[in-house]
């Protein structure tokens, strides 16, 4: 059972990491805890659902399509909500609050349109087959999640570390004023980061919706609390930290449910959160965060 539990842990850890990537990036660069992030997660899933249902797209096309559309929606929402606050140099409390109100608004609109019924991808979209290797079971969608997470982390790391654009993004995260003085196009970078985060959130929604086969408007909200734990433990704005923290959380939860008590499973995340805040509030590897705190 241990091996299967560890595998379970890695899989759910990858899910947490995938969800947290865009969330933490948004914070790291834009300096805002954006509560609408959960909405992008739901939006991505719904767009992919409609793309497969009505446009008859195969899933490998629907995934990037949904991610891109969600990214564009994220740009619009960021510009409408946070744009005015950034220009007014409003305190972070206002940003938190405005995204909170927007979350309420957007989820209710979504429920009004789509109802809260759970939907699933058409069975033809994706073969939910499972493999059994040495007694360990893993499904195709789980493999897809892990592979996509790895791919996205790799691509993000390359983008941030190796390109001029990445340099500009990092500069903006470190010191917005200095970066602007040095000719970084702040508006452009903000839109780019909004797009990437929104797209990441959307992609995570598609994959996780596929894996658990349940799509409904509030699916993003349910992920938010775990998402908080992961981005804090990993360090706000820290991509690598988010991945590792996501995996650690997934593993600890699996082991807790398997060997201690499943009623304690949800407490693990918060315990980890509390310990991190107590002993190392900058997160496991946080540096950017340290400057912002």
């Amino acid at each position: 059972m241990l091996a299967q539990q560890l595998l379970n842990g890695i899989l759910s850890g990858a899910v947490y990491a995938l969800f947290a990537l865009g969330f933490t990036l948004m914070f790291g660069v834009l300096g805002v805890i954006n509560l609408t992030y959960g909405f992008y997660f739901s939006t991505g899933a719904f767009i992919a659902l409609y793309a497969t249902h009505y446009l008859h797209m195969p899933i490998w096309a629907a995934l990037p399509f949904a991610a891109a559309v969600t990214g564009l929606i994220a740009i619009v929402i960021d510009e409408l909500l946070l744009g005015p606050l950034r220009r007014a140099k409003a305190p972070e409390l206002s940003s938190l609050m405005v995204t909170l109100g927007a979350t309420l608004l957007l989820y209710s609109l979504m429920t009004a349109w789509f109802t809260t019924d759970i939907r699933r991808f058409p069975p033809a979209v994706f073969d939910g087959g499972a493999f059994e290797i040495a007694g360990l079971r893993i499904t195709l969608s789980q493999i897809l999640i892990v592979a996509t997470t790895a791919l996205i982390v790799g691509a993000l790391a390359l983008l941030l570390q190796k390109t001029r654009l990445g340099l500009a993004v990092r500069a903006l995260a470190e010191n917005p004023d200095a970066a602007q003085l040095m000719g970084v196009n702040a508006g452009g970078i903000v839109r780019l980061v909004s797009f990437i985060s929104g797209a990441l959130g959307g992609a995570a929604g598609v994959l996780i919706g596929l894996n658990y086969n349940a799509i409904q408007p509030y699916m993003g909200e349910a992920m938010m609390l775990k998402g908080f734990a992961v981005i804090i433990v990993g360090g706000l704005g820290d991509i690598r930290g988010a991945v590792i923290a996501g995996l650690v959380l997934g593993l600890l939860e699996s082991v807790t449910a398997g060997y201690i008590a499943s009623s304690m499973k949800d407490a693990v995340g918060f315990l980890l959160l509390v310990l991190t805040l107590w002993f190392r509030p900058v997160g496991l590897f946080g540096r950017v965060a340290a400057k912002r705190a």
Binding site: M1, T111, T115, A257
Partner: protein
């Protein structure tokens, strides 16, 4: 009379101060003025699917009652209030229906949680309140004006488990339940007692949250203890997730999932697909019941709403007829008289024969059918 009608409109618009049309005024009302009863259901928010299914059932029955001449020579009407699944709003809705709209009886609310909050309010004001979907223990113990037409889990679950035990020779089971909502927890309490009574061994008890989507850790544990069956108490979304996890981890279909009331919904097949096959539930109702009353109901429901009814719609449908009969028997839209008439009602509806126990719970469990899901549809367990 025009003036009176305007007052009714204003009262309906929620201007409580103007709603001074007490019971004495109602008797003066013209024949065409409807008898309005209240209903508090979840019509918005994350759990509105239950409330909407129930509203559909009420509305369908209401059409039929009114086509057949209404009650007391007047049409019957329902004033709906939304609780949004929030107990404070449920209380406000009940207060508004009683205080501003002077309804003689209230249907709902949807969840046991909401009933625990709103029931005492109606009871204190001596207005009968009839739950159609509240299955937790202790609902009717709140007072003499609190009724329910839904069979409590305590009546259904033992029948289900006993039938499954006899059928499959189940000796040891794993139990899984959502430990963060009252509905699932009280279902679990019932299951635990029934399992002990039937002498079935519980190998492990695993819990999860109603909003969880990942059940692999719990299911891996369940798999490792090799149960004959898995007993589940949860609402439909997490239950579907449990079924999907069971399939993903390769637990064979011969290990049946035996569920409580929450799994008794066509949604479980829609969400979980073939992973739901072999799920066994006990139900006061099922869609394939062959009697003509039921077939007529299912056909009418499909015609009106374009989808299959579930047990919540069926219970609501029957309840409205029961209430209409009580109002007729009471002879006046008066809370006290309706309460006294309600307890005596005998009705045969889509759920089968129905009457209340002296404690205002449903008396007859003969309608309980044990169902098995096959190819996405529940049918009688063969």
């Amino acid at each position: 009379m025009l003036v009176r009608r305007q007052f009714n409109l204003l009262a309906a618009a929620g201007l409580g101060a103007l709603a001074f049309a007490g019971p004495s005024a109602v008797t003066l009302a013209r024949a065409a003025d409807p008898v309005t009863i209240g209903a508090v259901e979840i019509l918005t928010g994350p759990n509105n699917k239950y409330g909407i299914a129930i509203k559909n059932g009420f509305d369908l029955a209401l059409d039929e009652v009114n086509k057949a001449g209404g009650v007391l020579g007047r049409p019957l009407a329902i004033a709906y209030e939304d609780s949004a699944g929030n107990k404070d709003q449920a209380i406000n809705a009940v207060r508004k229906l009683i205080g501003a709209q002077n309804v003689p009886l209230i249907l709902g609310p949807t969840l046991s949680n909401e009933m625990f909050a709103a029931g005492p309010v109606a009871n204190e004001r001596k207005v009968p309140i009839v739950g159609t979907s509240t299955t937790a223990n202790g609902i009717t113990a709140m007072g003499p004006y609190v009724f329910r037409t839904s069979l409590p889990e305590a009546d259904v679950v033992p029948v289900t488990l006993k039938t499954a035990q006899q059928k499959f020779g189940i000796k040891k089971v794993a139990v899984m339940y959502a430990n963060d909502d009252a509905f699932s927890k009280s279902g679990y309490d019932v299951m635990k007692a029934a399992l002990e009574k039937l002498g079935i061994e519980t190998l492990t008890t695993e819990t999860f949250g109603t909003k969880d989507s990942d059940f692999s850790a719990q299911m891996t544990k369940v798999k490792s203890v090799n149960p004959d069956a898995i007993v589940v108490s949860a609402l439909v979304e997490p239950a579907a997730g449990v079924l999907l996890a069971k399939k993903a981890l390769g637990i064979p279909a011969s290990v049946h999932v035996i569920g409580g009331n929450g799994l008794n919904s066509p949604k479980i097949g829609e969400i979980a697909g073939d992973a739901a096959d072999g799920t066994i539930v006990g139900s006061p109702w099922f869609i394939g019941k062959q009697d003509p009353t039921n077939q007529k109901f299912v056909a009418a429901y499909k015609a009106k709403y374009g989808s299959d009814p579930d047990q919540f719609s069926a219970q609501a449908y029957d309840t409205l007829f029961i209430v209409a009969e009580a109002i007729k028997a009471a002879g006046a839209p008066d809370s006290e008289k309706i309460k006294d008439a309600l307890i005596k009602v005998k009705h045969t509806g889509v759920l089968g024969p129905f009457s209340f126990t002296p404690n205002r719970d449903p008396a007859d469990t003969s309608g309980v059918a044990v169902l098995e899901m096959k190819a996405g549809k529940f049918g009688l367990l063969q």
